[in-house]
């Protein structure tokens, strides 16, 4: 959506076709209104609110508002799977990578890059990817980024679902034991570490037929404006599975506190977030 807006504004300003994204493909800020909404409801949403001609919603002119599913789908353009049920998208990754070998594409071009979290990876079909990818010898074409924040919706993985006394339950060892080429990022939020991993993978020997995975230690509830575990003006940063927005109210005090740090950093102000709203709830 941010990328779409960057191209949209540049095209509006310059008329240069290189910045043009077909309206039916683009994801634009106005589409935020379509999150978890059905296409039928969105057809009349602006009109129902008397906002059809409001300048803030001009992007909807002629193309409407896109319905954005509650879980990522290929219609989002940004990815090539419908990934709702945990791990079902990444489970197809070995096949995607093998396809390009089968049709004779050079190793590593194109690449298949998959993102997943440690909890979704516990799903059966996702676990089977470990054997699928090594069996198909997809090599560096397949690059998985595993965000290990040790947090699901209701519990932690290690120290929660799996008792912490079982110290042999180690994700890195699990992937290594399946024969994968495993990289570890101690801080998965550190751009230098991420870029370093990307560069290493890109330069890796194409003859090495092990699939690749980067396991980055991350924090669910990460917020760059946090200072020593505190959100300025809001107290303790909420991390781990409690940070899942499962029961947070829209524009809750904590949300507004996070937004405030953004406003202060960039010198902007969000409209309307400090007004009273009825509670809402997001699912997993």
């Amino acid at each position: 959506m941010i990328l779409g807006q960057a191209l949209y504004r540049k095209h509006q300003a310059t008329g240069d076709r290189r910045y043009h994204v077909a309206p039916d493909v683009a994801m634009l800020p106005v589409d935020a209104l379509g999150f978890r909404r059905g296409a039928g409801a969105l057809k009349t949403l602006l009109a129902d609110q008397g906002l059809s001609d409001h300048p803030l919603f001009a992007q909807a002119k002629g193309r409407g508002i896109r319905a954005l599913p509650g879980h990522i789908e290929s219609t989002d353009v940004t990815n090539d799977v419908n990934g709702g049920p945990s791990g079902v998208g990444i489970a197809t990754a070995a096949g995607k990578a093998a396809f390009w070998d089968i049709v004779g594409a050079p190793m590593g071009t194109p690449k298949v890059i998959a993102f997943e979290g440690e909890f979704a990876m516990t799903e059966g079909h996702a676990q089977e990817l470990k054997t699928q990818a090594i069996a198909l010898q997809v090599g560096k074409r397949l690059r998985i980024f595993l965000s290990d924040n040790n947090a699901g919706i209701d519990d932690s993985l290690i120290g929660g679902v799996v008792h912490k006394k079982f110290d042999g339950y180690r994700l890195i060892d699990q992937w290594t034991s399946y024969g994968w080429n495993v990289f570890h990022l101690p801080d998965g939020h550190d751009y230098d570490q991420i870029v370093g991993a990307l560069k290493t993978m890109e330069e890796w020997d194409p003859a090495d037929r092990r699939p690749m995975i980067v396991i980055g230690t991350t924090t669910k509830g990460y917020w760059p404006g946090a200072v020593n575990g505190k959100i300025p003006g809001a107290g303790d940063q909420v991390v781990g599975y409690p940070s899942h927005p499962y029961a947070m109210k829209m524009n809750s005090e904590y949300f507004v506190a996070l937004a405030r740090t953004f406003e202060e950093r960039y010198g902007v102000e969000f409209s309307g977030i400090r007004q009273e709203r009825s509670p809402t709830r997001a699912s997993g």
Binding site: Y19, E73, V88, T92, W100, D101, G104, H125, L136, Y266
Partner: protein, 447 residues
């Protein structure tokens, strides 16, 4: 979004995106496979699949090696070969006409469920055998299906309306295919929305039905394969084969539809394990060797000039085979039923109205019983009458899980042995007046 207006951030981002876009090469990858002669089913090679056994000379375009390829899409009546044995032949033929674009993955059963010999050049290896189409696969039904989805979901064509990709089969026991359902369901959703032409996922429900006797009920594909009906209508094609000679025409008809109609993202093939004698179609009302392409075909028509006793629709191996075996006895007993083989409701739906009415005229659905190795929970055809359940013969006739044993034991327990079928059809025929009266009474009660 006003942040994008500050410090040139938005411009930098847009320029960077364009720069990345410009760096993407738009060339086709060098292909191990020749330019597609066609995607499977679209062209004549499938319709013109040979009826006589073939020995073809094939050349490996990667290694230059040549070999002889034996192929038998059809067999003579009376030969002993179950429908499953034709599966390798259709895959082999597809690979022959598409230059090895049909890949297979099965859960440690490749030989047993007859996918093994669909590959012309053996196991795929990215370095030593790139033209191999049999992919190494563990006992991972969901993973294998997911990899198959990954394969068919890619398209190397720059034109989104053209398909330069592969089709894939993932197979296992019919009883275990529900493990493949979740990824396949999500795949079907993706296929519906895809802006690009994509390939077709094939699920092979091998060793299906109660015929998987000795493996016992944990391995029976009676209820399990019915998950493959849990899709929006016309987005999958289900094929249930009972005879060797049904497989090629039925499958190629489905492949042709799938190649033409983008919304068909999954083809399901269900076959049983036993080797039956190939049916003698000269004794059938429809003698067309390729009758299965029509979805439903008539095995025995009503005898003219005699009272009609109703329609008997058969699906599954033992059920259909044993029904055919008792037809002479039924005729001797004066039972005048029309017997129809149900290979695929979806293929039948694609037939002209005249054909559909000639097989099942309006009203026939109210005068119909099934003989099926499936269940009474989901019929092979939709919109059947209210008394269908009361007269049909299915493997779950007593709402109990069957036990295991010898094939004959299990089929008898399922009441799909010749004696049970004869008795069931006889009852259906003899009680026709009562059946129709009951249905009329039910409707009259609504007045």
């Amino acid at each position: 979004m006003s942040v994008l207006d500050r410090n040139g951030l938005g411009d930098w981002l847009a320029d960077h995106l364009v720069e990345i876009g410009d760096s993407v090469k738009r060339a086709h990858p060098a292909s191990h496979r020749r330019e597609a002669r066609s995607i499977p089913g679209r062209s004549a090679p499938c319709r013109q699949s040979p009826e006589e056994p073939q020995t073809l000379t094939v050349k490996n375009s990667a290694s230059g090696a040549e070999k002889q390829l034996k192929l038998a899409l059809f067999r003579k009546a009376g030969e002993v070969a179950g429908a499953r044995r034709a599966v390798s032949e259709i895959v082999k033929w597809l690979n022959h006409v598409t230059d090895n674009r049909v890949l297979t993955l099965s859960a440690d059963l490749s030989e047993s469920i007859n996918l093994e010999h669909g590959s012309i050049w053996g196991h795929y290896d990215p370095e030593t055998n790139p033209l191999g189409t049999r992919l190494k696969a563990a006992i991972q039904e969901a993973g294998n299906a997911s990899s198959a989805i990954g394969l068919v979901g890619q398209n190397a064509s720059l034109d989104p309306d053209q398909f330069a990709g592969v089709w894939a089969f993932s197979g296992t026991y019919g009883a275990f295919t529900p493990l493949m359902y979740l990824p396949a369901r999500v795949w079907s959703q993706q296929n519906q929305d895809s802006k690009f032409r994509t390939g077709v996922l094939h699920i092979l429900a091998g060793h299906s039905g109660p015929e998987t006797a000795a493996d016992a009920r944990t391995h029976f594909g009676i209820f399990s394969p019915q998950v493959w009906k849990l899709f929006p209508r016309d987005q999958v094609i289900n094929l249930s084969f009972w005879d060797y000679n049904d497989v090629a025409p039925g499958y190629f008809a489905a492949a042709e539809i799938a190649a033409r109609e983008k919304k068909v993202g999954v083809i399901i093939i269900e076959v049983a394990r036993p080797d039956f004698r190939v049916a003698d179609r000269s004794t059938f009302a429809d003698t067309d060797l390729r009758a299965a392409a029509k979805g439903l075909y008539v095995i025995r028509d009503f005898a003219p000039g005699k009272p009609k006793h109703g329609y008997v629709v058969a699906q599954g191996s033992s059920s259909t085979f044993n029904l055919v075996s008792v037809l002479p006895r039924l005729e001797q007993a004066g039972i005048n039923v029309k017997v129809i083989a149900a290979i695929s409701e979806e293929l039948f739906d694609h037939q002209p109205e005249a054909y559909r009415s000639s097989v099942l005229p309006p009203g026939a659905h109210q005068d119909l019983m099934f003989v099926s190795s499936g269940t009474r929970r989901m019929w092979p055809l939709r919109n059947v009458g209210s008394l269908t359940d009361a007269y049909s013969l299915t493997a779950d006739w007593d709402n109990q899980w069957l036990t295991g044993g010898l094939e004959a034991d299990v089929i008898a327990e399922a009441h799909l042995d010749p004696e049970s079928i004869f008795a069931g059809v006889q009852r259906f025929a003899q009680e026709r007046p009562k059946r129709l009266d009951r249905q009329r009474a039910l409707l009259d009660a609504l007045k």
